[in-house]
């Protein structure tokens, strides 16, 4: 495979190195000439010392025959433009972007970036799994990214305790499908009664989150006070 990596920071550098070790053909674009020389000294002449956002230099780097373009600079706007140029102007089949602001994820997906990697989101996910919070926990994003698998830990004060999924007012396009109780996962039937300490696994659209939060977590202030 021919992979064009744009951005020669730490991520781009190690990515290029790993790809070469796996036997792929790699070109790395880095606009800072000092950094570009440094990388050339370390891993050889695969570096194009130019701005990967410029159409002219993308063409010179062979963007039109790339199988994958990975935009891993530190700036979201640059990564977006690199992927869009690769996709729409050079017909690259697969584009991958690093996204720093999690808020930009939906925009990037919408605008045709094939895959997103958000370090912020990933670290946030790890932190949320370690700290008990009265919030919903994002377990995974599915498909186009519009759907998410979400876990809700039912703690005292949750309006869902003592009720069944049938009795809850679920937002459209959102379903509760399993419950983890005492470390054992079971499918959630419409008449299963939910208990304190249950972990309810739901799947739904991102927009449903607020409603889901109200149904399963309730008002955290009230919990703290109670």
């Amino acid at each position: 495979m021919f992979v064009l990596v744009v951005g020669g920071g730490k991520v781009g550098y190690y990515l290029a190195k790993e790809l070469i070790d796996s036997g792929h053909e790699v070109a790395l674009m880095e606009k800072d000439s000092t950094r570009a020389r440094q990388i050339t000294d370390e891993i050889g002449s695969i570096v194009i010392p130019h701005d990967g956002c410029e159409g002219k230099y993308l063409a010179e780097a062979g963007c039109n025959r790339a199988d994958v373009v990975a935009a891993v600079t530190g700036d979201d706007e640059d990564n977006l433009v690199i992927c869009q140029m690769a996709k729409h102007h050079f017909d690259v089949p697969r584009t991958i972007a690093r996204v720093n602001n999690p808020k930009n994820e939906s925009l990037f997906r919408h605008l045709g970036v094939d895959e997103l990697v958000s370090p912020t989101r990933m670290i946030l996910g790890s932190i949320e799994q370690d700290i008990p919070v009265h919030e919903l926990l994002h377990l995974a994003a599915l498909g186009e990214g519009e759907l998410e698998i979400i876990e809700a830990h039912l703690q005292a004060g949750s309006p869902a305790i003592g009720r069944t999924p049938e009795q809850l007012d679920m937002p459209d396009g959102c379903a509760l499908f399993a419950v983890v109780r005492g470390g054992i996962a079971t499918p959630l039937r419409p008449d299963s009664v939910l208990r304190e300490g249950d972990k309810v696994i739901a799947i739904g659209k991102q927009e449903c989150e607020a409603l889901l939060h109200g149904q399963l977590i309730g008002d955290p202030e009230a919990v703290a006070a109670g």
């Binding site: 706007e77 433009v81 869009q84 140029m85 808020k103 605008l111």
Partner: protein, 175 residues
């Protein structure tokens, strides 16, 4: 009209001043407060320090419900991103982005963003002055094709829309 200007450089400040004086509701953003020194003391619009490529910042600045957004910062990509946020997330009907790289300017006009390319504008202004033939570089490009989900998007169609359908009605620049 309610107009959002991203980037308060010479062009941004001049247009902000003119459009404000003409009675429009103007919001101008820049990441550097000092940039607002270019605005006259009579400026009656809102000057807000913030990053115009951040959706939250745009909303907080009051960009929702704007009729026009023009992205005039010194960074092509920042302008592209700001313009696309305006189209996609804020549903602003008319959007113009300054894109100095001719390749990117042409590419984004095909993606439904009206673009201004200073490179082409200046080269051809000089050519015209000297009586030399035009360069063929992009200068002022109306949005051809459609943005993936712009107001005129053909949902479920190809991302670039129908190439034969040119001059989308929301083309913001008709020179």
């Amino acid at each position: 009209m309610k107009i959002v200007i991203v980037g308060c450089g010479r062009v941004g400040a001049s247009t902000a001043e003119l459009w404000d004086a003409a009675g429009h509701e103007v919001i101008v953003l820049d990441i550097v407060t000092r940039a607002f020194e270019r605005l006259p003391s009579t400026f009656g619009g809102n000057a807000i320090r913030g990053d115009g490529t951040d959706e939250d910042v745009l909303r907080r600045a009051g960009a929702e419900g704007a009729d026009v957004l023009v992205a005039l910062t010194e960074g092509d990509n920042r302008n592209v991103m700001s313009a696309q946020l305006a189209v996609e997330q804020l549903r602003i009907p008319r959007v113009i982005a300054k894109i100095n790289d001719p390749v990117r300017a042409a590419a984004y006009s095909e993606l439904g963003i009206a673009t201004l390319c200073r490179t082409g504008l200046m080269v051809d202004a000089m050519n015209a002055h000297l009586g030399v033939a035009p360069s063929g570089l992009p200068s002022i490009l109306a949005a051809t094709g459609h943005h993936p989900s712009g107001p005129h998007a053909d949902h479920g169609g190809t991302p670039q829309g129908n190439p034969e359908e040119t001059a989308a009605p929301r083309a913001a620049v008709e020179a």
